[in-house]
């Protein structure tokens, strides 16, 4: 048993794992929208509390 068989099967196994991941991600629609996620990842914790008393004044 040569080590080449081990290496070959390992490398092909790794390749197939990535291939399955690719198919899975396409199926999930990850490639349907290639723009929005790039913007979405920049949003986080943007919710700033403003002073509520000033806002009540504007209500009628």
């Amino acid at each position: 048993m040569s080590v080449i068989y081990l290496l070959l099967s390992l490398s092909i196994l790794v390749a197939i794992v990535f291939f399955i991941a690719f198919i899975y991600s396409v199926k999930n629609g990850q490639y349907d929208d290639s723009y929005t996620p790039s913007v979405r990842m920049l949003f986080e914790d943007e919710l700033v509390k403003e002073q509520p008393e000033e806002l009540t004044k504007t209500k009628h």
């Binding site: 490639y31 949003f43 919710l47 700033v48």
Partner: protein
């Protein structure tokens, strides 16, 4: 004061009256949106982009049809007992602020569990709790923050769209196999004939064989199918030599490894398919947010209000409208069927149909045509036909809309492929015969080698990459072309037909001329302040023309829907509007729209609105006349004939009073005479002509909304560049021809190796990708160079 723009929508503010803290708003609508956001801690909306918002529109009653469960069920993407998912198209989505606020909808309405924006398609997918809220409430919420969804009859029919992702799968598989096969064939490239390689080469070879199986039988299947279809129709399209090449590659390689004759060409095989699919992928990328296939369905509402005999109102689906039904059309609603006006003041805007934005007044008893939009209060009408049989919608039953009449266009690639295939086959057969006499053992080897090396990968890639890149460049210049075939057709045209209203003239800008007694300064101030209160398009246009800015508070103000406005200030009275309202005795038959003015019951004069031609029309026509026949087909009367004759070069044909079918027939007739026609139009009345023409270009003020079915959409502001766009398409053709020449050089080099019987796998593996890559590089650089001349 002029520099103040609305914090919410960026429009110019008329006064400082509407403000919160240091922020100014153009109207109460915008202010309300700001308040909604600030109460819910969503003011970050304004941080990503300056003035991102839109003015919320009045929608009362417009979405009552969403109470009808059967209609809602058709719109929903998913519906369980309490969870519902809906995908709504929102034309206003345009920046990162939009994404942010729409994905934070759950902060505004707790029953929304999640919302996800698809920016390129301008849609938002909302998941909500159906027990606690309804689709109608969600639509109301979206409208209240300026993101009114666009729901049309089209959504009703399509239902759940299936996304076709097969090309990505095919490309992924081919790429995966290509990489692995390359890596497995590496040891044998160097032909280190030694004990090690002899021992293991069979393992490598059979692994390559198995990797190539899905590539041949799945990824490349479209080429086999297309070649088969072509042969059946007796056309030698480009897919024939490709399919031939792929099958010869696979069979010869398999035979080689089975009988231990050599390594085979699995690397070239997988690489070839991968590159071809890459070209296809590049070509297929189109504009997600644009629709080129619209018919009346995307203009028409889903439901309409029917008034039953006992005065009850109910919402019914539009296809359920029968002859004789009484329908209630509210302000800003579209008339879905031809009918007779029964009640109310009809002021109809036929701009969808004709491109003409000025409204037409109708009396009770008049006939109303489907496609018009009521713009002054509610009216009641009696349906004369069903939806499909209306005057406008009947146009779509014309044959042009049914068949793919453009599919018989022969692309450059396909016309060259016939000669190419014949040449390659004859070379292969001659060499076969030669070698059979000379050295029979090599004959079959040479024959297959020729078919392999001549596989027209580079030829097949030239057009997709050249035109695909041009498509992108033109898209940046606001000329959106449906696909690469359209660009090829555009390069071949010899006649341009233009619609007038809405295409050559602008809907937004009017030339306004005043005739009559001049107005005194207080009168002008009064007029301006009177106009400020009105939202009528003519009032807005006139308002922007006057430059008096003093603000006075009017003592009285009254707007008579469909007639005009009356206002008074310090005992001075003003009437603005139709001739009737201002008591103008001379009610002449006018060809152009006019707004009449009277103060204190004395007639002053009128503002006449003339068509205003778009920037650069005259220049464009003068440039175009050197190479093309020019025609203007207008649905209007010939009141503008003189103006047009002055504006346009003498040889332009002017034809007026054309009905939609006339336009279609005109183009059809000229096509039978051998003309290649471009139709440039905008309204639904041009839809037939756009479909019949070789290339139909729709002009749009706003590319996100209405445009009839067409091959290309051109932003109205870029009309004057049309001539340049056509010349770019022409240069595109010559780039493709040069690429063909380049790929022939590679083929000749390859053929030398093949005919002399020295084609080794490593040579094929170098030549094939090299030719493909150099074609891609050449076309990309060349197209970028020629597109520089747009600027």
């Amino acid at each position: 004061m002029k520099d103040i723009t609305c914090f919410h929508c960026g429009n110019e503010c008329d006064s400082k009256n509407i403000a919160i803290k240091e922020k100014f708003f153009c109207c109460n609508g915008c202010k309300t949106v700001f308040e909604i956001f600030s109460e819910n801690d969503l003011t970050c909306y304004y941080d990503f982009q300056n003035n991102p918002g839109a003015i919320p529109e009045e929608i009362a009653g417009k979405y009552d049809f969403l109470e009808n469960k059967a209609i809602v069920a058709k719109l929903l993407e998913f519906s369980d007992s309490n969870i519902q998912i809906v995908n709504l198209y929102i034309p206003h989505i345009h920046c990162s602020s939009c994404i942010w606020v729409l994905e934070n909808l759950h902060k505004l309405q707790e029953n929304i569990s999640s919302s996800q924006v698809n920016f390129p398609k301008k849609t938002v997918r909302i998941t909500f709790n159906a027990e606690k809220t309804t689709l109608k409430e969600i639509v109301f919420l979206l409208s209240s923050i300026g993101y009114e969804p666009y729901i049309s009859l089209e959504d009703y029919e399509v239902g759940k769209k299936k996304v076709d992702r097969s090309l990505i799968y095919k490309l992924g598989i081919a790429g995966f196999a290509f990489g692995n096969v390359m890596f497995l064939s590496f040891p044998e490239y160097f032909e280190v004939s030694g004990f090690w390689l002899d021992q293991y080469k069979n393992v490598f070879r059979w692994l390559m064989f198995f990797f190539s199986l899905p590539v041949v039988f799945y990824s490349a299947q479209d080429y086999f199918i297309s070649a088969y279809k072509g042969l059946k129709a007796k056309i030698l399209n480009i897919d024939v030599p490709i399919a031939l090449g792929v099958s010869v590659l696979f069979i010869r390689s398999s035979v080689e490894i089975i009988f231990d004759l050599g390594t085979g060409f699995f690397d070239s095989l997988t690489g070839l398919v991968f590159f071809l699919l890459l070209g296809k992928f590049f070509q297929q990328k189109t504009y997600n947010f644009l629709s080129f296939e619209r018919d009346y369905k995307s203009y028409f509402p889903i439901a309409v209000t029917r008034v039953s005999s006992d005065k009850k109102e109910e919402n019914i689906q539009i296809y359920d409208v029968k002859k004789g039904d009484r329908l209630l059309i509210r302000n800003q609603e579209l008339i879905p069927v031809d009918g007779i006006l029964i009640n109310g003041n009809a002021q109809i805007d036929y701009s969808f149909v004709t491109g003409e934005s000025k409204t037409i007044r109708k009396q009770s008893g008049d006939k109303l045509f489907a496609g018009g939009k009521q713009v002054a209060g509610a009216i009641e009408l009696e349906a004369l036909t069903s939806v499909e049989q209306s005057y406008l919608t009947q146009l779509w039953s014309n044959d042009v809309f049914k068949k793919e009449h453009k599919s018989n266009f022969k692309t450059l690639t396909n016309s060259i492929s016939k000669n190419f295939t014949v040449t390659v086959l004859s070379i292969a057969i001659i060499s076969l015969v030669f070698w059979l006499f000379f050295d029979a053992s090599k004959a079959l080897n040479v024959f297959t080698a020729i078919l392999i090396i001549a596989c027209p990968c580079a030829i097949a890639l030239a057009a997709p990459f050249a035109f695909g890149n041009l498509l992108r460049i033109l898209g940046k210049q606001k000329f959106y072309v449906k696909n690469t075939d359209v660009l090829e057709q555009l390069a071949a045209i010899d006649t341009l037909v233009f619609d007038k209203t809405g295409t050559l003239t602008s809907n937004k800008k009017n030339t306004i001329k005043y005739e009559g007694d001049s107005l005194s300064e207080p009168e002008e101030i009064l007029l301006k302040n009177t106009l400020r209160g009105s939202n009528h398009p003519l009032s807005r246009a006139l308002y922007n023309l006057l430059d008096k800015n003093d603000i006075i508070t009017l003592d009285s103000y009254e707007e008579y829907v469909g007639k005009g406005i009356e206002a008074s200030y310090q005992n001075k009275n003003i009437k603005v509007g139709s001739a009737k309202l201002v008591n103008n005795a001379i009610e002449e038959k006018e060809l152009n729209t006019a707004v009449h003015i009277s103060t204190d019951n004395t007639y002053k004069g009128k503002f006449t609105f003339y068509n205003s031609y778009r920037k650069g029309v005259s220049k464009l026509f003068n440039k175009l006349k050197q190479h093309y026949n020019l025609v203007i087909l207008s649905g209007d009367n010939d009141s503008e004939k003189e103006n047009l004759e002055k504006l346009l070069p003498a040889k332009t044909k002017l034809i007026f009073n054309q009905k939609p079918e006339d336009k279609l027939e005109y183009i059809k007739y000229h096509q039978t005479e051998g003309a290649k026609v471009v139709m440039v139009g905008d309204g639904l009345n041009d839809a037939g002509a756009l479909a019949q023409s070789n290339v139909g270009i729709a002009i749009a003020e706003n590319v996100n909304v209405f445009s009839p079915a067409c091959d290309a959409i051109l932003d109205a502001s870029k009309l004057h560049l049309l001539e340049k766009y056509i010349s770019i398409a022409k240069s595109g053709i010559s780039i493709v021809k040069w690429s063909f020449a380049l790929s022939f050089i590679y083929n000749i080099i390859g053929l030398y190796f093949a005919i002399t019987g020295q084609l080794k796998p490593v040579i094929a593996a170098i030549l094939m990708p090299l030719s493909s890559i150099s074609i891609v590089v050449f076309t990309t650089i060349a197209t970028n160079l020629i597109s520089k001349k747009i600027k």
